[in-house]
Symmetry: C2
Subunit: 283 residues, 2 copies
């Protein structure tokens, strides 16, 4: 197996493993909630649905509608093919050779309680004539909580610090810049980290960093969910959540590069739009 093929096998395997661990912890949270609130119904369980891409590869959507998570989706995919002429110039290393391979994991969680923050995490490995990692994680509370924001940022600062102290300030600023609704002049949430085109020349190191991002998310987000999931909430708070989710939809459909790129390149619509909230209001 060539180095490149081994690297692709390793990263694709990691994304699958991370998905399994994430699904397991979110199902455990559902169990904890169902035990605490037996009158509210059964714990949710992920349902997995594989999908194939005509031009090469495919993925698996894992989707759960539970008590804590009104909707949470984790999609892993490994796809390959050729970029269409209109995209070649935009993709690093694809101008002269349009072939690509890409693998990644994408998670969006929309909790039922307006007091539990929504979250997004995505990491990917992309190979053209170049190879790089990208991704990040960010938190979208309806009512920002200082301790949550601090702990969420600290988790990713820790993940970054172990690899390169310059990463955190740069990737945090990149996140703030990326997840911003220009038309409303407001951020989507309270940020996190965002990185792309990561190729230091040391593949193993970049892969280790990408794994660390996944591990940090796996550690911190469940902690924040458990922190708030049993708190009672009001109809007013729920209404505020439905409106806040509208901003999430606006961001994803107006600005999110992954969403727009996926839809324009004939990606799996259900997988791409799994990020959209289960109930939304534009009053």
């Amino acid at each position: 197996m060539s180095d490149a093929a081994q690297q692709q096998a390793d990263s694709a395997h990691w994304f699958d493993e991370l998905r399994d661990r994430l699904c397991a912890v979110f199902e455990a949270i559902e169990d904890e909630y169902a035990a605490a609130r037996p009158d509210e119904g059964q714990a949710g369980r992920f349902e997995r649905e594989p999908w194939r891409r005509e031009d090469g590869g495919g993925g698996t959507m894992a989707l759960m509608h539970g008590r804590v998570f009104e909707k949470i989706g984790v999609n892993v995919s490994t796809v390959w093919g050729e970029f269409s002429p209109e995209f070649r110039a935009q993709i690093p290393g694809a101008a002269d050779d349009p072939r690509f391979w890409a693998s990644g994991i994408s998670l969006v969680g929309h909790p039922r309680s307006p007091l539990v923050p929504a979250a997004h995490m995505n990491t990917r490995h992309v190979c053209t004539t170049k190879a790089w990692f990208g991704g990040g994680a960010d938190l979208t509370p309806v009512f920002p909580d200082e301790a949550d924001t601090r702990d969420f940022h600290a988790a990713f600062e820790g993940a970054c610090a172990a690899h390169d102290p310059a990463y955190y300030p740069r990737f945090k600023a990149w996140c703030d810049e990326y997840f911003f609704l220009k038309h409303r002049n407001e951020p989507r949430g309270v940020g996190g980290i965002f990185y792309d085109d990561l190729a230091t020349g040391d593949w193993a190191r970049d892969f280790a960093f990408t794994r660390a991002v996944g591990e940090a998310f796996l550690r911190i987000y469940p902690r924040l969910v458990r922190r708030h999931m049993l708190r009672p909430w009001t109809d007013e708070q729920r209404q505020a959540q439905l409106v806040k989710r509208g901003r999430y939809v606006e961001f994803n459909l107006l600005y999110d590069r992954g969403t727009l790129f996926g839809l324009k390149t004939g990606g799996n619509v259900d997988a791409i739009l799994m990020s959209l909230p289960p109930a939304v209001s534009w009053p």
Copy 2:
């Protein structure tokens, strides 16, 4: 007053008048419903909110949350200024002189009942170094009804026929092409008409056609609403409506030129996104 100034005054006045007549008929429908279903609460009433645009002009949003109309908005605006360099090349007659004037009316109605079709109508008059009309109307039922579709199309065929028999087939096809969700390979609704850059050389004739489009909508849409508004519906039908509305959001945020243009040019966000449905689901 110059010819151009008189034309602008005339069209802006018409959009205001049409708004008043539309609001009156939708409030009358609310009254009829409240009389038939007194237990469901008071008839809705439009609330009007004027807004100003920093660079010149402004408008009035009229918004109603009623019993028949879960949300219906009618926005009129008359704005002027200069196109930014990035837009000059895209706008007819603006390449060498970026000044513009534009007036128009835009309506989107989201009925509460999944058996009453949603509808959109928009007409506008735009002046750069050129001047033209554009607009149209289209119907978005959750459960298409053959008689509704036939009657809706017939109303606009009639409006077109009185002006130019070539208009209807052309503008109907343009509507089908425009209101199409490429990523889902499905139409937004059952169509209607769509036209743009209408400048035959006879301003009065083009203005008369644009008025006829408004009149046709004023005649047909209330008729369809009354036809279905008292029919009972099920939770399943309501759920299908919430999902169908998601497609409406996807269209408006991914494809609608007016929405994207407005958001990119610093338009009034509340007025532009008044089109988005009050309750939506991506299950």
